[in-house]
């Protein structure tokens, strides 16, 4: 998944970035809201936002994004543990709320859960015809047979599964999968989608000509 992490604490920010990167996610880490403006318009699978930032409130920033009809799943990371704070955080558009200190493993699990819910399924394993995808295990099966995927192929599959039923523009898919490296490899997506089709069947990923790619919603 491509994640935007806004956290001003160096120790925590770096730790989370490295931990989540180690789990196969692509993490863009900003230390302030001002820094985050550089990432405006970038597609993300989820946002990880600290409440108290040096140049403003992460909560207000998230509320503004929600007002702008941005429905990217968001997790609020904060040291504020009062019930009223949690209620306020969730009411402001956060999909989940994690009180510091937390284990990065828990953050990762919640992230997957939030993204699954956002994709319309609560279960870890999702079915798309003969293909099954387990977002937690980062694995895919075709007719019950486990299929080995490369990192890029998995990233494309994950991005499309999390947006099942919706068209994902090629540019967005490039950003989600390759991040800022997308500009360096213009045909990388086509290559990896082609690989996916070979391994999981040609009817899984649909090309919507001129618009992008789509995986049909779960049956």
């Amino acid at each position: 998944m491509r994640l935007l992490l806004i956290e001003d604490d160096e120790l925590l920010g770096e730790g989370l970035r490295d931990f989540l990167s180690g789990e196969g996610h692509r993490v863009d880490w900003c230390r302030s809201l001002h820094e985050a403006t550089a990432y405006r318009g970038e597609p993300y699978d989820a946002l990880l936002v600290d409440w108290q930032l040096p140049d403003g409130s992460g909560l207000a920033w998230l509320r503004a994004r929600r007002s702008a009809r941005d429905s990217t799943p968001a997790l609020m990371l904060t040291a504020r543990d009062l019930l009223s704070d949690r209620v306020q955080g969730l009411d402001s558009g956060a999909d989940d709320y994690l009180v510091k200190p937390f284990a990065p493993e828990e953050l990762s699990a919640r992230l997957r859960a939030v993204c699954r819910r956002s994709a319309g399924g609560a279960a870890s394993r999702l079915s798309f015809g003969r293909v099954e995808v387990d977002l937690t295990a980062r694995s895919a099966w075709l007719a019950g047979q486990r299929i080995e995927l490369t990192g890029r192929e998995w990233s494309i599959l994950e991005a499309l599964v999390l947006r099942a039923g919706r068209i994902v523009p090629k540019a967005d898919l490039e950003r989600l999968v390759l991040g800022f490296e997308a500009e360096l490899a213009s045909n990388a997506i086509e290559v990896h989608v082609s690989g996916l089709r070979r391994k999981l069947g040609f009817d899984l990923v649909e090309t919507v000509r001129g618009l992008g790619y789509r995986i049909a919603a779960q049956a």
């Binding site: 604490d9 160096e10 120790l11 925590l12 920010g13 770096e14 730790g15 989370l16 490295d18 931990f19 180690g22 108290q52 990371l77 040291a79 504020r80 543990d81 009062l82 019930l83 009180v99 510091k100 200190p101 937390f102 284990a103 990065p104 493993e105 828990e106």
Partner: protein, 430 residues
């Protein structure tokens, strides 16, 4: 109000009752003394007046002598009507025969009221006598009134006065009691207002005092409330800052350790894992300390699924069995902090298994399989908890558990168990 404390109403009522009795007795005594004197004078005046009337209406001394020997039949038409209490005699004195009654009222004594000629007032046995010379003669007229009659009159007057005083005192007492109750009502109203008063709201006051005497009390409470609200606001701000300053680096340490564990060589992993466990314990302590800051404030009771609550607690190295037969109503965050620290206690004291149970609807027991403590130690711990003398006696775990129980209106107890150590949080019913 059966608190054993002195009651203003009872004390004032008793004082009023005492003073009422004293006042009644004093007034009655004063009235008796004054009335006795006046009645004596009045009755003496009556005797004097009667003597004057008789003097004018009785026969002259020569006529009187003529009728001597038949005193009971003389001239009754012209003399005052006889009375058992009031009588008169006309007595003649001579050196040869002594005193001789010439005339007398029908019920007068048969002996002369005075054996020697005497004028004026005098008390003789059973009679109050007034003597006077008959006009123009040497005979003496004695007018007398029985002492019993006079005593009876005095007693009647004194009794009437005493009863009237007593009635007034009784009425005054009842009225004052009712008035006192009425005047003490503002104190009850003040207590009701205080019960509804929320000191956490900055600027909140008790409102106008109902009595001038209560103004200083209102002012003192308002000032206290204001100080308390500011102090709480200050502490909340501090807690928020402290929470941010402590929790964020702790989360950072854990994240860094998680990455390091993943990346480090296999031989370093156990050491790093120990460091991470210590960091996790530090997190629990910090969470507990921050919880302590707000225990007793912002209590938010809700029905709790104990198994779910325990399942969410980050504790490693301890197997936990939840035997929750009762649904608890408690503040989930506070209870989680208390449980986490009790588990941590158990772990550090060599326990490997803990049973969490609900022996009653408002009680939560944590029973571990560690070595436990001796009966004497348990007694000392229990006493320290009861007196809230935690320092030097209990660890953070028991202290926090007790504070959390007290925030719910209960307290922590350490029940006797066959094996291991048990702590029971008694949470008062919502």
């Amino acid at each position: 109000m059966k608190s054993g404390l002195p009651s203003i109403r009872t004390r004032v009522t008793r004082a009023l009752l005492g003073w009422s009795v004293l006042w009644t007795l004093s007034v009655s005594l004063a009235v008796c003394l004054a009335v006795q004197q006046e009645i004596d004078e009045l009755l003496d005046d009556t005797l004097l007046a009667a003597a004057q009337v008789l003097d004018a209406s009785l026969p002259t001394p020569s006529e009187t002598s003529a009728v001597a020997g038949t005193p009971k039949e003389t001239n009754e038409a012209t003399t005052p009507a006889p009375s058992g209490r009031f009588t008169w005699q006309v007595v003649e004195y001579s050196p040869s025969s002594g005193a001789r009654i010439l005339l007398a009222s029908p019920l007068a004594p048969t002996h002369p009221l005075r054996t020697t000629p005497s004028t004026g007032f005098a008390d003789v046995p059973a009679w109050r006598v007034f003597g006077t010379h008959l006009a123009g003669g040497t005979h003496l007229l004695y007018v007398a009134q029985s002492q019993d009659e006079r005593r009876e009159a005095k007693i009647e007057v004194a009794l009437s006065a005493a009863l009237a005083t007593l009635a007034i005192a009784l009425l005054a007492h009842l009225w004052l009691r009712a008035r006192l109750r009425q005047e003490l009502l503002p104190l009850e109203h003040l207590a009701e207002r205080l019960a509804r008063h929320d000191p956490l709201i900055l600027g909140a006051t008790l409102g106008a005092a109902e009595r001038a005497e209560l103004r200083p009390v209102h002012a003192a409470i308002d000032a206290l409330t204001d100080r308390l609200a500011r102090r709480l606001a200050h502490e909340r701000a501090f807690t928020a800052h402290a929470a941010h300053s402590l929790r964020t680096p702790l989360a950072g340490i854990d994240a860094q350790l998680a990455v390091a564990l993943r990346e480090c060589p296999a031989q370093l992993q156990p050491r790093l894992q120990r460091v991470r466990s210590a960091a996790a314990r530090l997190q629990r302590v910090v969470t507990a300390l921050l919880t302590l800051f707000r225990s007793g404030v912002d209590l938010r009771r809700q029905p709790l699924d104990l198994a779910s609550l325990v399942g969410r607690l980050p504790i490693e190295g301890l197997s936990i069995t939840v035997e929750a037969s009762q649904t608890l109503s408690a503040d989930g965050d506070l209870l989680a902090a208390a449980l986490l620290n009790l588990f941590d206690n158990a772990l550090r004291n060599g326990a490997s298994h803990v049973i969490v149970s609900t022996p009653a609807s408002a009680a939560l027991r944590v029973h571990d399989d560690g070595p436990g403590v001796s009966a004497a130690q348990r007694g000392e711990l229990q006493e320290a908890i009861a007196a809230q003398a935690y320092e030097g006696h209990t660890g953070l775990g028991l202290m926090l558990a007790d504070l959390v129980a007290r925030a719910h209106g209960g307290r922590l107890s350490l029940p006797e168990v066959d094996r291991g150590f048990a702590a029971e949080l008694r949470l008062a019913q919502a």
